[in-house]
Symmetry: C2
Amino acid sequence: MQNRILRFSGGAAIVAAASVVGKREFEGPLGDCFDLHDSTDKFGMKSWERAESEMQRLAFNTALAKASARERDVDALFAGDLLNQCVGSSYGLLDFDIPYFGLYGACSTAAEGLMLAAMTVSGGFFSTAAAVTSSHYCSAERQYRTPLEYGSQRTPTAQWTVTGAGAFLVCREGRVRIREALPGIVVEKGIKDAANMGAAMAPAAADTLLRYFRFGNHSPEDVDRIITGDLGSEGGSILCELLEREGISLRNRYNDCGMMIYHAKKQDMHAGGSGCGCSAVVLASHLLPRLERGEWKNILFVGTGAMMSPSSIQQGEAIPAIAHLLYLSSDETKGE
Amino acid sequence: MQNRILRFSGGAAIVAAASVVGKREFEGPLGDCFDLHDSTDKFGMKSWERAESEMQRLAFNTALAKASARERDVDALFAGDLLNQCVGSSYGLLDFDIPYFGLYGACSTAAEGLMLAAMTVSGGFFSTAAAVTSSHYCSAERQYRTPLEYGSQRTPTAQWTVTGAGAFLVCREGRVRIREALPGIVVEKGIKDAANMGAAMAPAAADTLLRYFRFGNHSPEDVDRIITGDLGSEGGSILCELLEREGISLRNRYNDCGMMIYHAKKQDMHAGGSGCGCSAVVLASHLLPRLERGEWKNILFVGTGAMMSPSSIQQGEAIPAIAHLLYLSSDETKGE
């Protein structure tokens, strides 16, 4: 049962998505695709934390507008972020009188929220559910690492927390269907370096993908793209190696949201982007539109999260990681 | 739709529950009811954080044993806690190869997890799902307040974080049914005092209960008990006042997990217990057994959470709060 792939017989589809980003994300290769950006990264707010909450509010409002939906049309919010006690979400979505389910899935939050939205909508509990998440480089640095003013040097495997928020509306019917999902199992392989989250998360992504291929009788060739978020360059190459040892090659159809969001050389973000916002804004602004336009028929979207805290790292604990998989398809006719 | 009460036509029931607590909880009026306790509060671990994780592991294992279930019988874990990045759960449940959904609902986590377990089991996605949560006085003090060694004085409205973990297994059939649920909406009424979480959470509990009574056409007389967790004495009396203004009297059937777990005078825990573990262990060890034994036919269990962080308090933000409601019943024949 633990390897049973979830299917949504009642129907589950992403009907609208919105993305809000900061300056560096706007300057990246996907810059034109994002709905909103602010080159100050502050979104008119006095603190980085408030700016992050404001991004969530804007992203959710924009998703509502795109779906021509009103606040009262949404029955549930599934939201979370990286900040302690997930205050990015609890403050960011406070304006909306909508039942709220707080999540913590680190950078896998977009996938976790979409999976829960798909189950609760397909199961008939909600007509429309939203998944919302965010991260902000400056609030994350303050909390996880060192104050920005220190100008600390970063190691080559370090990822850069994306300043961005993504929001998704899930209904039973829509152009991009959530056909299948496989929730992740927490995996810990002894990585203790918080500046190498890709290495900590790659085994979780490999575990989920292997379970999906084996127990669903699937292969990478069944989909147009397999996209993780966010392993970065280091984690992405480890994932490909781990799967190759099992006789599975992803290389020609694999990419990672953390590697897609910044220019590898021009912007030099080291191992790439990370943070709950990274996979959320890449999915909202780039992956879903390609599915909607029919450029891809289907993708596997694998949200990955590293679930350590600064305290657990200081106490010498290794990093537990998780990967939640969604099979998204624009193909209305394909059987379930 | 936002006020639609969730019903579980596919069936949802709590089939097993377990509780693990520390010294003060064992010395409280419910002491004999808890499954496991450790008078050192350390559970054989070197840090308070590891002790908290160990409590989750023990609670989940005990719930499995009570249901004569094995690890592979459980299809999903819904877990969260108060620690930054919810490491109590991610480390505590790492031993188990079970799909994991991380939650953040502050002290409402037990109710949030049970609600998600009920929806996903009733909806046919999982056969058995578990809700697990914990809190630890010492790990919470270190993170939220001041190091224990400072011996800081507490204000009269302050609540005492319960050292405890609770675990619940949810299946379609069982003796204590989850008949209805109403997820909470985040409410913020301007309370900025983190030592008065009861006052911050009471309006959220009032909002959820009012919506339940109004839109479900219910009244307090429909149930044997209405139990919040954890408003404490301060928040509990505010809740009763708020509802009386609306013409609804809870007094003769109301109680709060935070007021039930410690001896009011002998232990002097000020406004009572709090923390994710509080409502979880009271539900597991006291409320569910009374329903199982038929002493009560039905209760409303309202999990309340204050979703601020130390940073948000330092930045002068008011406290957002939430309350998730579950209608639990031992009455097999009562219609849905």
